[in-house]
């Protein structure tokens, strides 16, 4: 079953919208609360990344009885060096964004920690695609 959510770049007030919606779905599906938490934390990080860096994005969540697969696709600046971006504490966020409590350089590492599979591909100047998979019985 597939769910789609649009993400608006720059609108921090709405960041977390998709994460909350997916959380509700997983609760209705009686997924283990600990697994829900991992999925939601990873998704929220991804959502905030789109809001903070991209012009716009789209989140697709596909759920079957064994796993949830999430694809976060954005139109934005892209990531020039993915390995660097994966490092804890590495951040390109402006001071304005940091003041809002975002941009501590924990985003991608935190997503990696909370997903069973994480795949990132990026096209500088075009956008980024992040794919996450979490298994329900892991």
């Amino acid at each position: 079953m597939e769910f789609k959510y649009d993400v608006e770049g720059g609108n921090f007030a709405k960041a977390g919208h998709a994460a909350s919606a997916v959380k509700k779905v997983l609760k209705q599906l009686n997924v283990n609360p600990k697994v829900i938490k991992r999925v939601v934390v990873a998704l929220y990080e991804g959502e905030v990344n789109v809001v903070a860096h991209a012009f716009k994005g789209r989140i697709i969540a596909d759920i079957d009885p064994s796993r949830i697969y999430i694809k976060i696709e954005d139109q934005g600046p892209g990531i020039p060096d993915i390995d660097l971006a994966m490092q804890v504490g590495y951040s390109t966020a402006s001071s304005k964004v940091r003041e809002m409590g975002f941009g501590a350089g924990m985003g991608l590492p935190n997503m990696k920690k909370n997903a069973d599979k994480l795949q990132i591909s990026s096209n500088v100047g075009k956008g980024t695609v992040v794919e996450l998979t979490t298994y329900f019985n892991s």
Partner: protein, 459 residues
């Protein structure tokens, strides 16, 4: 499922309920449905917050209480009274006068619920030192504890495993009287409650096997009784039969108000009142949008217990009175020897057994079945108009779709679907009226000039 055992204090008076949608739309957990012209409350979804009672235009929702006469089945009749009770009375009526009236009404002992807050505070601070998973969530408000159990099961482990003051005070007073020679059977502990949730918690305690409270009295009932006596008194001097009525500390007076707990815990503490605010906050907490909070004081009512559904006065005035009195007592400590000598007993008996989640969200225990149901819900939503009018007897289109999948409603309950079915001649007008009567009661659409707001209202 053990959900059926959950006792709920909120009841619908079927003679008074005329079937509107106020409570259904206001219920924060979506637990109310209209059937046959009356509101019905889903037991396993209700958290006893009392929002329905606040929204009812005709007072058809009430809080079940124990019969006052029951107090006289005991030799020692103890009233455990929260500070907000006294906050309702005008400032010129002293606590002593209120106490003497309560003695007159039949209580042999009156004890304030917040007398044990210092010990509770101490135990929670000690618990904070054990570095539990952050944030700790207070167990003070029983509606919030239930809310977390049904709606935020992943957060259940964050609830502080320490009993709220009323339970600690009830346990203490029972043992105090036993110590003084009374037998357990002779003692009746009655809690004067400001809300429905506390009654439900007493009748069916969560995470606690032993219960020291024998009965519950609604605060509005006692307020009226006391006020009536006070108004008829010509002699304003009080005669207190009870030996000593210990004074609450400033902390105790403010404990049940917003910030009452948060002001006294370690680290970054936040206080949030009103149930919708709490739900919004817990959503964000669950997403880890909010982190680094050490302690959360969450209360279901606006202005916390001063806004309890069973309080009679204005909540803002009640808060003002209690704060004024607390200010006058600042930096004063009242050592009640009895309480001190029971300190260790209270500390030992204050532990709250672990709570278990009982999610109301899941569509099915089995995930494949739940997925199928969700697919059906999404399919049904393609047809429902998304107006969320409530005319089907469910609070919104999504709820109707979920009810249909649970086999508790039909697509034809939707009045707009009915119109479409009439257009395609799948439904006769007579049948459509019958469907509406199933939800809203027989002859509901007939002219009635006595209804609320109509020209002969009240005649």
């Amino acid at each position: 499922m053990s959900d059926e055992q959950f006792y709920h204090a909120l009841k619908v008076d079927e003679d008074t309920c005329f079937g509107c949608t106020h409570c259904m739309h206001d219920c924060p957990t979506g637990a109310i449905r209209l059937r046959n012209g009356k509101a019905t409350i889903r037991k396993d979804w209700c958290v006893d917050c009392g929002e329905c009672m606040k929204s009812c235009p005709v007072d058809a929702i009430y809080v079940e209480q124990d019969d006052f006469i029951e107090i006289f089945s005991y030799k020692y009749r103890v009233a455990i009274v929260p500070a907000v009770f006294f906050g309702q009375f005008p400032e010129n009526i002293s606590e002593e006068r209120i106490l003497s009236v309560m003695n007159e009404l039949g209580f042999t002992h009156v004890f304030q619920a917040e007398h044990t807050v210092d010990i509770i505070n101490e135990v929670i601070l000690e618990f904070q030192d054990t570095k539990p998973e952050k944030p700790l969530i207070s167990s003070f408000c029983p509606a919030i504890v239930r809310l977390i159990q049904v709606k935020f099961p992943a957060l259940v482990d964050h609830i502080v495993p320490v009993k709220p003051p009323i339970d600690a005070s009830a346990a203490f007073y029972k043992y105090l009287l036993i110590e003084k020679g009374a037998t357990a059977e002779e003692i009746g502990i009655f809690y004067v409650t400001p809300c429905a949730a506390k009654i439900a918690a007493v009748k069916s305690p969560v995470g606690d096997d032993q219960n020291y409270v024998d009965g519950v009295i609604n605060m509005d009932f006692l307020y009226n009784k006391v006020y009536q006596v006070l108004k008829s008194q010509t002699n304003t001097s009080s005669t207190i039969k009870q030996a000593a009525f210990p004074q609450l500390t400033s902390k105790g007076l403010k404990w049940s108000l917003t910030d009452g707990e948060a002001d006294h815990m370690k680290g970054r503490c936040l206080a949030i009142d009103e149930i919708h605010n709490v739900i919004d906050f817990l959503e964000r907490l669950e997403n880890e949008e909010i982190s680094d909070v050490d302690f959360l004081e969450l209360r279901a009512c606006d202005q916390s217990c001063a806004g309890g559904v069973l309080l009679s006065g204005n909540r803002f005035l009640g808060v003002e009175r209690l704060r004024n009195r607390a200010r006058a007592l600042e930096n004063k400590t009242f050592q009640t020897e009895e309480l001190e000598s029971f300190r260790n007993f209270i500390k030992k008996n204050i532990h709250l057994e672990s709570l278990s989640p009982r999610s109301m969200m899941k569509l099915d225990e089995d995930m494949s079945a739940a997925l199928k149901k969700m697919q059906r819900i999404r399919h049904i939503m393609c047809f429902l108009p998304g107006i969320d009018c409530g005319a089907c007897g469910a609070p919104n289109c999504q709820s109707l779709a979920e009810d249909i999948v649970r086999k508790e409603a039909h697509l034809s309950n939707c009045v707009f679907i009915q119109r479409m079915m009439e257009k395609t001649r799948k439904l006769s007008p007579d049948h459509a009226i019958r469907l509406i009567e199933n939800t809203w009661g027989k002859d509901r659409l007939d002219k009635d000039c006595k209804k609320k707001g109509a020209k002969n209202e009240g005649m």
